[in-house]
Symmetry: C2
Subunit: 393 residues, 2 copies
Amino acid sequence: MEEQLTQVKKASLELATLSLQQRNQALQSIASELEASRVELIEANQQDLDAGKSSLSQAMYSRLVFDDSKIDNLIAGIADIREMKDPIGEVTLQRELKPGLELKRVSTPIGVIAIVFESRPDVAVQIGSLLLKSGNAGVLKGGSEARHTLQAIESVVARATSRHDFVPANWLSFIQTREDVSELLAYEKYIDLVIPRGSNQLVQSIMSRTKIPVLGHADGICHIYLDEDYDQKEALEIVSNSKLQSPGTCNALETLLIHQLRFDDFKKALAQHSPEIELIEKPKSWSIEYGSAQLAIKSVESLSSAIDHINTYGSHHTDAILTQNSSHQERFLAEVDSGNVFVNCSTRHSDGFRYGFGAEIGISTSKIHARGPVGLEGLVSYKYQLRGKAHLV
Amino acid sequence: MEEQLTQVKKASLELATLSLQQRNQALQSIASELEASRVELIEANQQDLDAGKSSLSQAMYSRLVFDDSKIDNLIAGIADIREMKDPIGEVTLQRELKPGLELKRVSTPIGVIAIVFESRPDVAVQIGSLLLKSGNAGVLKGGSEARHTLQAIESVVARATSRHDFVPANWLSFIQTREDVSELLAYEKYIDLVIPRGSNQLVQSIMSRTKIPVLGHADGICHIYLDEDYDQKEALEIVSNSKLQSPGTCNALETLLIHQLRFDDFKKALAQHSPEIELIEKPKSWSIEYGSAQLAIKSVESLSSAIDHINTYGSHHTDAILTQNSSHQERFLAEVDSGNVFVNCSTRHSDGFRYGFGAEIGISTSKIHARGPVGLEGLVSYKYQLRGKAHLV
């Protein structure tokens, strides 16, 4: 593995010097090669589907499907990524330190980024395209149930980019086994950033095993605090949308905090409005991500208690207040220590696409580097360039 | 320790809500209290100096001194920090996602930052002031040889800020022993960032023991590549300044790469120009930070070999090229993978003060979060605020 990573590291240094035009050309080739390789890709995927038919859950099986419509989406996604503004080479600071001594801060690729993802094999193309756009080399590890599909994707991408002399071989490298991941996580010398995309268990297991910076989030324990004054009908709609619109996603609601004066009444109304929600008044813990129609509810005596609860038991992902009281709105936005803090809307808005970032790399609950939904700009670093005329100190 | 860190974490949430005016008031009180406590501070320092007289090296002893002129500098430094623009509450992105659904990205404090430093006790005041300005709580650990001075500083700062109801107690907490540091480094739950300031050994030992993000650099293995065409006299001045002006600092030159066609000649000229530099042609390793007048030198056959050498053996801190060839300048700036890349000037310019950032938190060789010299903006994160009118997904 060290030999493989040395190659990727070397490729990253070359990739960092490509022009926007070169990177966009290579992206275009990936799109064309996907188009030309539909049969190959779908046949490979069929092998994985056949092998997984009896062993995979229905949800996993459907995520594994890589069909024409997935390929259409990927090709459209690459067109979007080509349109995006160049994240590299942006001058974010410029000043003359002394006469003739010019300082610039310029955005650069990060280097080598490892992505470990589960199930959906199309993620490999999506992420690969974002890495290429931002001049980063990558090491990808997908789910073993998608083995054949991923091998086909690997060879499609390699064929596409090898058509351009300027794209270094090995810029996108694949690893296969869990043991490979363990080994990879020890190589902080070659890997600059790890992005896990998958279940809490996956993310937590990666975070606990590496000193390489990790971009991501383990839990999405999202809250709504329903204040004293907010319209009941609107509150019912927002709570129901936040919990039920897609219960398995990280920005779905897990705990509803209700002002004590309306707790009983709202609980009853919610049970009528959304009978499919299973209300839990005495959860085993206030830090559970149900990922289902279950919803923990609690009566709180004030805004302060709600904020305390969220900062104590939450996962700093996405939390919302429903209130007309503008000083309560501002306190909540300022005091809740989460990457996404909302007023009077569904927690489900917390998403890179909805924020207008285009493709999303992931959602980070760290406060270092990138926080919240992370788009292309989470894949860049910067360097200081200083141009002088024999200046001494 | 967990109890102490819980308190600091709690304080960080309160501190994050202070206005700029409140933070500046508290800074002013620290300056006034330093002024009023000169005798107390200098007496405490005298105890440390007496205790260290026989055991400390001269360099360590002189760094330990905390006298009137150090206090003057600190008071002037606090005045500068008060003048700085508020790093918190800056809106760095604003857009309407749907009619009435307003997204803002706002800069926020990071939370709790631990700083582990060696020797110079005045660092505690400097760092404490930067933390306060940026709304961050802190845990500080200084050198044990400065024990009495640090205790006096702790009590001066606590007296000063406790005068303001709005400043939470425990916002700046001190720990004492190496064992405390080890314990601290395991509490990623309470500490958002660790900044080590001191020797390579200190930094490396901290980086190897924690999963908390670390801002800093272990080695400063800085290079100059002298190209074929650059003026000899200017090159001698720049090399000499980079190596000798302050050999112990991280931005001092450690390895000089010379184009093969002028290697012998330049070596001879350098020996005459700066006889105090000890030239080393066969170093044990190309990754040594001498921190002294020793300088590794090597003949390279081209710009590409120089760049390869630097990317392979350097520490990604600060590297310079001396050349009039503008395409060589641009290739060096683009291809050398370091936080600071220079053309035709001394490596010693790599410094937050010289870059105009005001007080420097440290220099980072990581590519995640902050890179290069880090000022106040390295102490901030951000959050997304979304204000809606009952918007659903």
